[in-house]
Structure formats: structure tokens, C-alpha cells
Amino acid sequence: MRTPNKLWNSWRGLFRDPIRPFGISSALLLIVLAIAPAKNHFSEWRHYQRGYLKLIRNRPDALVLQRHFEPGIHQIWLPDLGVVDRCETCHLGLTETSLGDIRMQPWSRHPVIPHSMQQFGCVICHRGQGAATTVAAAHDSTLSPDEPILPARYDEASCGQCHHVALEGTPTLNQGREILARYGCVRCHAIKLPDGSAEQPTDEPPPLTHIADKTTREWIYAWLKDPKSYAASATMPNFLLSDDDARDISAFLIANSVAESGDTATLKVASATNADPAAGASLYGESFCASCHATQNAAGNLVGGDLGPELTAVGTKVKPEWLTAWLRDPKTYDGATSMPHYRFTDQQLALLSGFLESKTNSDLLANVHLDAATPEQLAHGKQLVEEYGCAACHEIRGVSRPDNYGPELSRVGSKPVAQLVFTTGMAETLPAYLSNKIERPRSFGPGLHMPQYTFTPAQVDALTTALLSLTDRSYTLPAKMRIAAVQQTAYEPAGRAGHLMTDLNCMACHRINGHGGDMAPDLTWEGSSVQKQWLDAFLKNPNTLRPALIRRMPRFNLTDEERATLTDYMMTVYQNPTIDRDAMPLRGYLPAMVEHGRELFYGKYACQSCHMVDPAQDKGYIGPPLSAVGSRLNAEWIFLWLKNPQQLRPGTIEPDRDMSDDDAHALTAFLMMQTGSGNKGAGK
């Protein structure tokens, strides 16, 4: 009995008063009960909600903002998209248009975007953990390693998850996708899209099966060592080969090449350069070679197009006999080339090849001395060609095209950080990994084969953006949200005219029925648009319609028969089924109507802003000159064009003026009277 007594005594000793334990335990209970509300009260998101209220308290629009404010956790729940986003709990000003002046996060207004937040939530675009309610868990990679917030500079990547078509508002993403296709990335790295299609390359790596006809082993060696030393705009990357490796590959490629009789040609004409040293240069200009090929000018700037290879030092590269044969008919050497078959005369061939041969870079091969290759070197060269995946881009005899040479990148934008290997000093995030892989591919370890490209920082960002758009989410989003890229059709013109058009490579520049390039006008409805005599004269001597353009249609020296074939075909086949091109007469409009049209042209519609009718007086050179439009276009086409230009040619910048039929009639009458003086039918 002593022990309980003792206990009681010590208990009494502790509290003295028997009532105290109740008081203390009540206080403890209160504290315990207070933990939950206190935790809530001191939570991070409440802190931001109080901050927001403080921020808006003294603004003139405080009443409206306070009325919009609701305390508590806010959530966007979209079961279809797998979105549970509580971001708006702290980001309270996202939809408040009047908060445009607030830059302080998390309360700033969301910039205007084409989608509603209630429809798409936040994480689809920004990534991060939408369901989290603390700053660190929602944004950082520490607590959610696989999907931290996407840095704002790569935001356009998120658009690319659904939009596989090029959007006007996503220039960075579009540029990145272009690079993927143009620099041959997708030849080694397969990129499959959620709809089952795959990214297609747009570059044209030349076949190497008869390379020895075209160039020398020394040039191949210098090119392999550093393509940029030959051409600043080279799209071939640098494989960082050792001298020995470049020696062996060049030896193998030359030894592996098979000579073809059509690849070389010698001309019987006397040396043409004696005649006039400037004649070659002017033929180069007249043939509009610069529409596709660039050359470096004296200031070191590249001038010209990028459809074909740069020609700054082409004389150092190609053999004269090959160049002559190539200019005579490029399809003999490379059946898939985009280079048109000009019908040059022997005299012109001599002039042009003489001019191109004179464009040299004497430094390039000055220090290249290669001894005859040994069989070991040849074998080693072949082994290197296989190792480096050269055949992924180039056709090489005896080496088959490797399938999936590089890792597939179809979902690289969702690659978990845990699977990535970082080099020291690098931010441990997926975007940093990708941009470093692009900039310094060989720094990630020995034995890697990815070549070194020379991209500007903006190009690296664009390419990283395009890769980051290849996410898991793009596969899991509902299929109806996907907007597929516009695919080129397989259209090819048929018959004798089709054969001629393939020979001239019309579709390298012109698009017809959804197939072809975009440098020159779409010809799908050319037969409805133009008059036959004009087309024939144009093919004979293509003066440009738009003097402001620097890319122009070359003259191909077509025979009368060839021109007739092309003209007949285009006038018959390339017609819009809804247009009767003869519905309105070409001539015979009433003078009063013509005069009314003139008033409308210069007055109400002020067409002279962009077009010229009277070259002496009008100065608009944005649109084509109209001084001879009456001999070029059909009246019905002009009428329908005035009514709705975008319907006839989607994307044209001619504004739709919402014109009445009467106005369009009068303007058509006026324009049909503009037949050009003294130069009828020549299109100028």
C-alpha cells in the first residue's frame, strides 16, 4: 500500500492542487486540437492567398478583384486529359485581365493564349505536378524528378504535343522541326508520331556510288575533316575524324566508286573563256542559279538560296568533265536530284562550267597529300563507314543502310531524368541534357559517334524545343485533339508533259495538287488562271512578274514542241472544276464600265498601294504589276479573285475586300483593258 501512496504523493507534489492536472490536460488538448487548423493557416498556399489580398487591397479595381477571389484550394479537373491542377490556388491572378501590370509571381496575369485554362489546365503546357500544393513539390525537380516545370523558353514544345502542323504563333518549334528534317537528324534517329506516321527528312544527301567521277580523294579528305572549311553553309556535320580515319574513308569511297560513262563529258567547242571573262558570270545570273545556290560575296556574306549546295569554291571540288556532264543533264549522275535539266548549248556549257571552275579556294587542298592506299587502309575505311553510319544518309555501294542507327527519339521529351547521364557542370534537367547533346555530343563519353553540328544558340533552342515536344503525353491525349501535319501528296504529272516536268524538276519550286516546293507559285489551277498565249510566251522567256523578287524562274531553252506540250497540258489539266474560264469575255467592255473600274482602282480600293497599272505613275511593287494583266489572266479568274482571293490561293496576302459583284465587274473590265503597250503577250 505504500507504493500507490508514494505515487499519489509525488503526483500531488507535482501539481500541489488536484485541480491542476485538469487545467494542464485541457491546455494540452487545446494545443493538439489547434495543430490541424494552424497547419492549414500557416500553409504555403494560404500565405500566397493572403499576399494576393494584400496586393489587390489598394488597387482601384480592388472591389472587382476581391469579388472574384475565393479562399481555399482551387482545382481544375479534366479526367479525359489526366489533369488535376491546383495551380490556381496560388496563381490567383491568371485570368484577371486588369492585372496586366503585375509581374510578381505567383500573382501575375497569364498572357493571352488561344486556349482556355478551364479546358486544358496548366500542366499540359507547363509540366510540373498539378496536384501538389507546395511550391517545391509543384515546380522543382527534387520532389518530382520526372516532370519539373518546363523553362519558359521551351514553352512552344507543349503546343507541338497536339499540333503537328506548323502554327503561325510557334516560330521556334517550327524552326526546330525544320532542322530535324533538313539536317538529317531523322535519318539516324527515328521519330514516330502518335498517328503512326514518322518525321521525314527533307535533305538530299548525294549518292556516293560514283563519287570518283565527280571529285578527288583529296577533296573528300578535306571535306570529311571539316565540311565547313569548304562551305560555310554545309549541312553535313563534322565527324571529328582523325587524319588516318579521314585518309582511310576517302580511300575506300574512291576505290568503291564505279565509273559511269555518262558522268563525264568533254566539249568540242573552243575554250570559251577567251571570249568574254564576264560572260560566264552573266550566264550564271541569267540562269538564276542563285535562286537555289548560294555563294559568298566579297564581304563574306552568303548570297543566294539554300535549295542546292553552296558554290563558293565549287571549282576546288568537282572535276571539269563531270561538271560539264552534270550541267548538261544532272539526272544522269543522280536520278533523284532537284537540279533542273537546263537545255544549255555546248557554248553555254563551256561558259558556265568555266565560270564555276574558276570559283576556287586554294587553301583547302594546299596541305592535303595522300599516298596510295594499302588494302588494310581500304578495309579500315569500309569498317569506319559502317561504324559511323554513313549509309544512313548516303547511298554507298556494298554498305547497306543501317536501320535505327541512332536511338529512337519518338518520346525523348518525356525521358526521365533518372535515365540521363549528365556531364559535370551541367544543370541536371532534360532541356539542359538535350541542348548539351546537340551542342557537344562527343563530350558525353568516349566511343560516341554522333557528329558535331555548328548551330547558333537560337537553332539549339529551336531543336531542343522540337525534341521536347515528343512526349508521352502526346500519345496519351485523346486522338481527336491531334492536328496532323500537312503531308505532301504523291501527285506526279502524267504523260509526255509529266515526263518533261520531271525532267525540268518544276516541282522543286512549284506545288501542284499538294506536292512540291513553295518557292514559286502554286500551279494547281494555272489553267483556269492564265491565257494560253501568255503561258507559252512566259515559258519562252520567263520575265518575273514581281520585280521585287530576287528568286526567279530560269529560262530552260525549251523547244517549240516542248513548250506546246507543257502549255497544252497545263491549260487542260490544271483547271479549277468550279471555274469556267471563258465565262467572261477577254475584250469588248463598255468604256463607261472601264472608266468606273479605273475610279474604283485608284479611289475606293486604292489598289495602287501595292500594284502598278501605269508604270510611269504608280509605284506599288508589293503585288505583281498589272500593266499587262489583260493579256495574262482570264477575266473570270480576275473577277473571282477580286471577290475572294484566299479561296483561289489560300494564304495569299491580297486582302479580301468583300467586293460587290458590280464593283468586281467594273474592276475586271478596267484590268482587262491593261494589255501592255508594244509588248503584247510577253507578260511584262
Binding site: 509581374r103 523558353r153 533552342d461 480600293y605 498601294s609 511593287y621 508589293i622 496576302i653 486582302p655
Partner: protein, 244 residues
């Protein structure tokens, strides 16, 4: 636990911030070997770039002496609003008296007022304000749209790659950075001019209507772009409330 997490997180942030600032101090600050009397912008101001991405061109500033010649070895420091990154933020002028820094603007679109400072002989700071422009989605879209449709007349510069008819028009159009003109026009005015042509606001008939060619979103985007690039900067009208 949540609050503890929060506190810990905040502590971590504080520690990180302190750590950062200490690191910055630890980095050897360049010592000025000379001083100039004027600081001017050479190039790279008023650039437009996507928000959060590095700008295309570096910002180049020059420190001059009384005679207007470049001063070598003068210290120039760059500061800007939160989110702006300079690479580097402090450096000495080179042999031609110039400094060049690469810029990354913040993640929100709008006008960023940056400050470059150098000290003169008396030790007084010579601050120069440098505006740079960050485009969000809408401004970026507006830039693309105006490049296709508008700059063919509104751009005072004509180049072979991007021809402009500006100088040939009897009533020359206003370049989009002319804030004095555009800031007087409300969004509704601009929408009317773009949508219905110059005559809609009693302006030149040479400005055609684009209401049926461009979408509403595209017109709004062009206006957002005009607001972004206008100089002096555009001040959005405040909301007007009735007195209580």
C-alpha cells in the same frame, strides 16, 4: 508537418539566396582601371525576343571620355527587373571602349527596362536606361502576322529579302514603333482600322481592310505587337469606377 515542410523550404530558399549572393561576391569583381564621362548604347537595345529565351544579339555599350573617345578598362554594371539574366553582369570595357553582354529576359512578356551603370571621375554613377522587349505568345503571333501582311508597307526599311513599299506611298504609313501616333488610338480604334481600312477612322484609303482576311485573334495579336514595340511605351488605360 506541412507547415514544417514549408518553413524548411523557405529556410532552404533563404539559405540558397544567401549562398547565391555570397557566391556572387566571392567571384572576383573586375577592378576598374579607368573611368569615362559618358555611357552610350552601341547596339542591342530595343530587341524583341521570346519571353524567357536569350535575345539574338548581345547588348553592346560604350564608355566615352570627354572627347567622345572610347575608354578602356572602365567598369560597367548591368541590372534589371527580376528574371532578367546578364552574362556577364559586370565587366570592363575592351580596347575600343565597349562592353558586350548577353541577355535573357524574364518569363513574362512586356517591356523590360534595364539599367547600365558606370562611374565617372567624381565617383558618381552614370545610369543609362536600356529597353528590351519580351514577346509572349500573342506578341509573337502578332510579329509573324505583321511580317506577312503589314510590314510590306509599314516598315520604313526595305531590304531585298523583305521588300517594303513604305517610301512609294503618297501617304507614308506609320512605323509600328511610333508610340506618339499609336498610343493615341485605343484597341477599338486599331481594330477598326485593321478590320475596315484607313477610311474607317478618316485615315488614308491606301490602308486596305483586313477584316475578312485576318481572324479576330490575329488582329488582336497585331495590336498586342504594336503595343509592345511602341516607343514611348504604351500605357494601358486604367479601369474607371464610379465613385462610391
Amino acid at each position: 508537418m506541412k507547415s514544417l515542410h514549408g518553413t524548411a523550404g523557405m529556410l532552404a530558399v533563404v539559405v540558397a539566396v544567401c549562398g547565391c549572393s555570397r557566391q556572387h561576391k566571392a567571384a572576383p569583381a573586375p577592378q576598374a582601371t579607368a573611368v569615362g564621362s559618358a555611357l552610350v548604347v552601341s547596339s542591342g537595345d530595343k530587341q524583341l525576343g521570346p519571353a524567357g529565351a536569350p535575345l539574338g544579339q548581345p547588348l553592346v555599350m560604350q564608355v566615352n571620355d570627354d572627347q567622345g573617345n572610347g575608354v578602356t578598362g572602365a567598369l560597367v554594371m548591368f541590372t534589371g527587373p527580376a528574371g532578367v539574366k546578364f552574362d556577364p553582369s559586370e565587366l570592363l570595357t575592351d580596347s575600343s571602349g565597349q562592353v558586350s553582354t548577353n541577355l535573357t529576359l524574364g518569363n513574362t512578356s512586356g517591356r523590360y527596362q534595364l539599367t547600365a551603370v558606370t562611374n565617372n571621375k567624381a565617383g558618381h554613377a552614370l545610369p543609362v536606361q536600356v529597353p528590351e522587349l519580351a514577346a509572349g505568345y500573342q506578341e509573337e503571333l502578332g510579329y509573324q502576322v505583321q511580317r506577312t501582311y503589314c510590314s510590306r508597307c509599314h516598315n520604313p526599311e526595305s531590304t531585298p529579302e523583305q521588300v517594303s513599299n513604305h517610301d512609294n506611298l503618297s501617304v507614308p504609313p506609320h512605323s509600328f514603333d511610333q508610340g506618339d501616333t499609336y498610343n493615341k488610338l485605343s484597341d477599338a480604334d486599331l481594330t477598326a482600322i485593321i478590320g475596315h481600312g484607313g477610311p474607317a477612322m478618316n485615315l488614308s484609303v491606301l490602308m486596305p481592310p483586313y477584316g475578312k482576311t485576318l481572324t479576330k485573334a490575329e488582329i488582336q495579336a497585331v495590336i498586342a505587337y504594336i503595343r509592345l514595340v511602341s516607343d514611348p511605351p504604351y500605357q494601358a488605360p486604367g479601369l474607371v469606377y464610379a465613385k462610391q
